[in-house]
């Protein structure tokens, strides 16, 4: 694949970076990134992945745009209310960068469809808002040996880490989802839009660095951000020998569909 003059011009500000260059740009154009959830985290991630020239972007979302989404889900506009999120997102991507191939999945992820979907991609971004989905993505990526970026946000805080095969997974920290209703969701406890934005951008950055093999990833590290007190902290963690998925005596051998309303009480 050779870069066209238009591509060289469009991506010139990143091609001049030694971590990118023409080779790196070609890697991006040949890469496939999946974003699960076109919401608060997925919106900024999708916009930046598209602008950067990630060649194929997958979007999984079964929801329609609601007016309450617009405060943080910046890929969706007022005129998109009631439109399927995947179509709203796809339209914006086409306007930013018409060369990106967008694959849409108008569905929710579950134990029977997720492995087939993630298998098609090089890197996965978890932009979901509930624990059953987060554990499902972790487990599916573990079984499919796919790297992914985890993101969780609440109020003014967020946490993110990057899973690479053979390294620590989400269950190394949290062995199973919290019981129903115990941990509040964004719809119950609130979320400041900029927190979702910041975390989604970090997730896109991880995807881009992974594709470029550049710099350090948040692997075996959990980044904790508190925007209210403007605190950024990285907590090192290791592969946990007691992890029920990737530990020495794994109990989990297959995907689990946890009860969906576990923490999604009001959506």
């Amino acid at each position: 694949m050779r870069l066209t003059n238009e591509q060289i011009e469009r991506y010139s500000r990143q091609i001049i970076l030694k971590e990118v260059g023409g080779k790196g740009q070609e890697k991006l154009l040949n890469s496939k990134v999946l974003v699960i959830g076109a919401g608060g985290l997925g919106s900024p991630a999708l916009l930046y992945l598209a602008s950067a020239g990630v060649g194929t972007i997958g979007i999984v979302d079964g929801d329609k745009v609601d007016i309450t989404n617009l405060q943080r889900q910046i890929i969706h506009f007022t005129e998109d209310v009631n439109k399927e999120k995947i179509y709203s997102a796809k339209e914006k991507i086409a306007k930013i960068n018409p060369h990106v191939r967008v694959i849409t999945y108008n569905t929710k992820v579950n134990a029977s469809n997720i492995r087939e979907i993630v298998r098609e991609f090089d890197f996965i971004i978890d932009g979901t808002d509930n624990f059953p989905a987060k554990f499902l993505i972790n487990d599916a990526c573990f079984f499919e040996k796919k790297p992914f970026s985890h993101g969780g946000i609440l109020r003014f805080q967020g946490q993110t880490f990057t899973y690479l095969p053979e390294n620590a997974c989400y269950r190394c920290i949290f062995d199973s989802p919290p019981p129903k209703g115990v941990v509040p969701t964004c719809s119950e406890a609130g979320i400041i839009g900029v927190m979702a934005g910041l975390l989604g951008v970090i997730q896109a950055s991880e995807a881009i660095k992974y594709i470029l093999s550049a710099g350090q990833l948040l692997t075996n590290k959990l980044l904790f951000v508190d925007l209210l007190n403007i605190e950024f902290r990285t907590i090192n963690f290791k592969k946990n020998k007691n992890c029920p998925l990737c530990g020495e005596n794994p109990k989990i051998k297959d995907l689990i569909d946890y009860e969906t309303e576990i923490c999604d009480l009001k959506n």
């Binding site: 919401g39 889900q73 992820v109 932009g127 979901t128 609440l154 920290i173 115990v182 907590i235």
Partner: protein, 72 residues
């Protein structure tokens, strides 16, 4: 003793505390929902009662965080 709790150095009157006592002292809400990391290693929940922290230990309380888009 001095402990580093969530990245901040704090002084404690007692010279040793169990993780369970520390969670109470730090007024951690829903301690059963918190993952505890002691000096870089995730501690099993069953060991909160029997594991003691000592001077210069580093403890992280890690909470569940959801957020994003409802996808399931």
């Amino acid at each position: 003793m001095k402990l580093t709790v969530n990245g901040k150095i704090e002084s404690f009157e007692k010279e040793s505390l169990t993780i369970e006592e520390l969670l109470k002292l730090k007024k951690v809400k829903m301690p059963e929902m918190v993952t505890v990391e002691l000096n870089g290693t995730i501690l099993e929940r069953e060991k909160f009662k029997t594991t003691y922290v000592k001077d210069n230990d580093s403890i992280e309380f890690i909470y569940y965080m959801g957020g994003g888009s409802p996808i399931i």
